[in-house]
């Protein structure tokens, strides 16, 4: 049986003349068919939240001094952190691909005289930026540049 929807989902402002059976959610929600990718997409919110907080902790440690920074970096060698970051990498890639797929059609068709570029151009720009920034930032962080 599908999960119940909100009891007032799609309700009219005034009740009809007969009683109605309550609305139910799509049967495939949450983890069957295309809903699985959707639910996982939302669930990556937890990964992003934790990534932000971990980066915040690192930034704070950097301001605290060498001991704090080295301790924080050493902590990332813990297998739990490694597993989390592996999951995080997959999540970030998944979010990027899904979001970029939606991005072109989400651009307003016309903003005054301005028209958005065509979808292939937008996608090229997005993926180009993603790859370029990843290579550049990766090289910087890994000691290759600067």
């Amino acid at each position: 049986m599908a999960r119940p929807a909100h009891p007032h989902a799609m309700a009219a402002s005034k009740p009809g003349r007969t009683r109605t059976a309550p609305p139910r959610m799509p049967p495939e929600f949450p983890m069957r068919g295309r809903y699985r990718a959707y639910t996982l997409f939302d669930a990556t919110g937890l990964v992003y939240l934790l990534l932000g907080l971990l980066a915040l902790r690192l930034a704070w440690a950097l301001g605290d001094g060498e001991a704090a920074w080295s301790a924080a970096m050493a902590g990332f060698r813990n297998p739990l952190y490694l597993a989390f970051h592996a999951l995080a990498l997959v999540s970030v890639l998944f979010v990027g691909v899904r979001f970029f797929r939606l991005f072109p059609k989400a651009q307003p068709p016309k903003l005054g005289p301005l028209e958005p570029p065509s979808a292939p151009v937008i996608l090229g720009g997005l993926y180009g930026a993603w790859i370029a920034v990843t290579l550049l930032l990766g090289a910087i962080l890994a000691g290759g540049i600067f």
Binding site: M10, T18, P26, F29, Y35, P109, K110
Partner: protein
Amino acid sequence: MSEVRKRRFVVARFDPDRDAEPRTQTYEVPCQPDWKVLDALNYIKDELDSTLSHRWSCRMAVCGSCGMNVDGKPTLTCKQAVEGYGDQVEIEPLSNFPVIRDLVVELEGFLEKLQHVKPWIVRAKELAVEAGPVRQSPEELELFTQFSYCINCMLCYAACPVVANEPEFLGPAAIALGHRYNIDSRDEGAHERNEIFRGEGTIFSCSYANECSEVCPKHVDPAAAINQAKFNAVIDWATSLVLPRGGR
């Protein structure tokens, strides 16, 4: 010769006067190979059980009446061939709607949301007839044509997880139609609609499931409309902060 194939149709039933809650009833239907799901339902009603209630009309996917969940997916039953299904087919009323009876859902909630977005040309001042027709270029027409193909079949509402959980969310078709008028060069009501979009309409509740566009039988792509509308609503909000309007 055509090959008739017997299929079991497990159909949701609900009589508000007799049933505490919905139940199912199974019918054996000899399906012709060229049948649509609607043909099977009409066979049930005509030959097996005249108490079955379901909506349908044009039989050619333009009226939007015959939407139902078939094997869990929102479907236009007059458009969907029976051939792709297995030995057993489950038919339920559209998800996310209160059910009046059997496969018939309450439409009034949708009609209210639709009216709320003022899906018509809004002008600050009506033009005199003597002024002649309003001219619109093919390019201007093309901007919104796709969003005008909506037949109000509500499959998108049945597919949307946000409609399921947020009663005030305007929903895919209503937002797409409001947006269709916002980007129509003849219309001057964008600010009013954007205030509804940002306000009780809560279009920002859309969480990019994209299911609405996946199930739309007319390729309206309401997900595109909603997300374009979000962008436009933010611009409208930002400009109204800087240039407050004096009200219409």
